[in-house]
Amino acid sequence: MDFFIQLFTDPVGFYNQHELLIAQIGINAILAISLFVTFYSGQLTLANAGFMAIGAYTTVILSLYLPTPLPVNMLIGVLLAGLVGVIVGLPVLRLRGVFLAIATIGFVEALRLGVILNVPITGEGQGLKNPTADPLGGIVPILISLPVLAYLAWRLTRTRLGQAWAAIREDELAASSNGINVPLYKMIAFVIGAVIAGYAGALETHINFFVDPGEYGVARTIQILTFAVVGGTTNVFGPVVGAVFLTALPEIVRQFASYRDVVNGIILILVIIFRPQGIVGRGGLALIRPRWLPAGRSARERPASAH
């Protein structure tokens, strides 16, 4: 309760006291947006943590060895994440559903265990110290980037591109028979997701003094997925709300802070069962009909609304 009282009565004090939390919320929200973009086009890809790692490591390595200014280093990191996105996307995006999810998990772990832990320049298992880390200054670009990215993603879903994604999500075959270049649009979504994730990774190195390979495993991607699913993926605000809600929750309910994964798990299951559209999103609760109850109106309507 104190959390909210302070938020409204003393916003400056609140900001000063919770700077790192706010920065983490911002990063998580940006990551959730990166997952949203591919999810919106109907693809469950779990490669975000890998692209994050590329953005983060590239930025820090360049800062360590080259005199180039930080924004340039970040830009290179982001572009590299996008490039790897194209290279990985070409073979992987032919897969669908569960297989796509598994392949992208394979990419994340192969990158982390096979490359990052074996190439000396990444500091291997030790990680890297970030020479340009600036926890308090780093928060500003995060707070600016989040609304900008959310706005851009929201605009994007309203363009022809976004409509094509929605069409592919609803029915891939119908979309392609209507002249939509399905592989191209899937690739665009995947690469945009990769770029945003790489950017989030680069931003995150600002607020941490350290790049730790353990941060970029599948657990991270699952966390991002949780944000997006709990918030809802019908529009871009869902993932942002999900990220804010789930990141702030352990701070709000301190008693359960150490059980945060239990709470997250329960929320995730409740949402996916009773509110598949997420917290943000239209409609009420999805009701599950017990076997003894006769089929109601909504159940009879379902076959018609499936297409």
């Binding site: 772990e109 192969a110 150490s258 945060r260 995730l268 996916i272």
Partner: protein, 304 residues
Amino acid sequence: MAQQLLNAIFIGSIYALFAVGYTLVFGVLDVLNLAHSAVFMLGAVITYSLVALHGVPFLPAAVIAVLVCGLLGLLIEFVALRPLRRRNAPPISALISTIGLALIFVAIVEQATPSSFFHWLWQDGANSVRFPSNAVPNPTFHVLGLTIEGTKLLILITTVVLMLVLGYVIRFTQLGRALRAVAENRRAATLLGIQVDRIFASTLFLSSALGGLAGLLFGLAISDISPYIGRDQVELKGLAVIVLGGMGSIPGAVLGGYLLGMIEVLAFVRFGSNIEAGVAFAALFLVLVLRPQGLFGARLRERL
């Protein structure tokens, strides 16, 4: 080198045992049960707590742990899968809800301390513990210059026997026929009078019991026990195994398990331990991209 290959067979047995449960659920329900690795971990944790905290002898402890894991399978079915089937939700939803259960299982063990609510289950928080060495006799055999520990031999024997039993059950019993029918075509099976929901529940029970058994054998003979053994050691490797063998194929999962064991050992011998860890995922990635039906292809395409 021969010793390494022998170790590959032992770890391969664990992978096979774990992956068979994974693939069984995928074959019958068309769902990727990501809580399977948490059940694997609980198999080891429950056996450990019965033996080390409650003084139960190993064999009854193992039986109880396997049964409890089977019941956890029913929990997965009733909490995470059945409500979604009632709503005709897409298969991806089930994947996400089982992730939720996995988060809960792991976090409960991870947060358990001597003073917490779950102190009877686990007291070491996120730390790893070693299985009490006096709980099981562990004679060491020396054959042809190879060292074979009794507990590792136990893994191999258990796996081979169980795979034969499972193969028999699936080929020749009423339950097995029903399983195959449901895997082949859910609607047709319903029309033939098979109680599909009951088959799903049995599948989850069987799969999770196998997963728990794999976990307890792993904790007994291969590695220390911690809340993360499922997530870090077998979850993704299990995925690699069932992809190598072809999703939903039980013989494929067994062959894939031993194959992954071999690949890892060869990578370890050739390139060292750092590369070994990444090999499974590189293999997974390559097989999915180049040969999504699995390495063994059409001959094992028929499910189960």
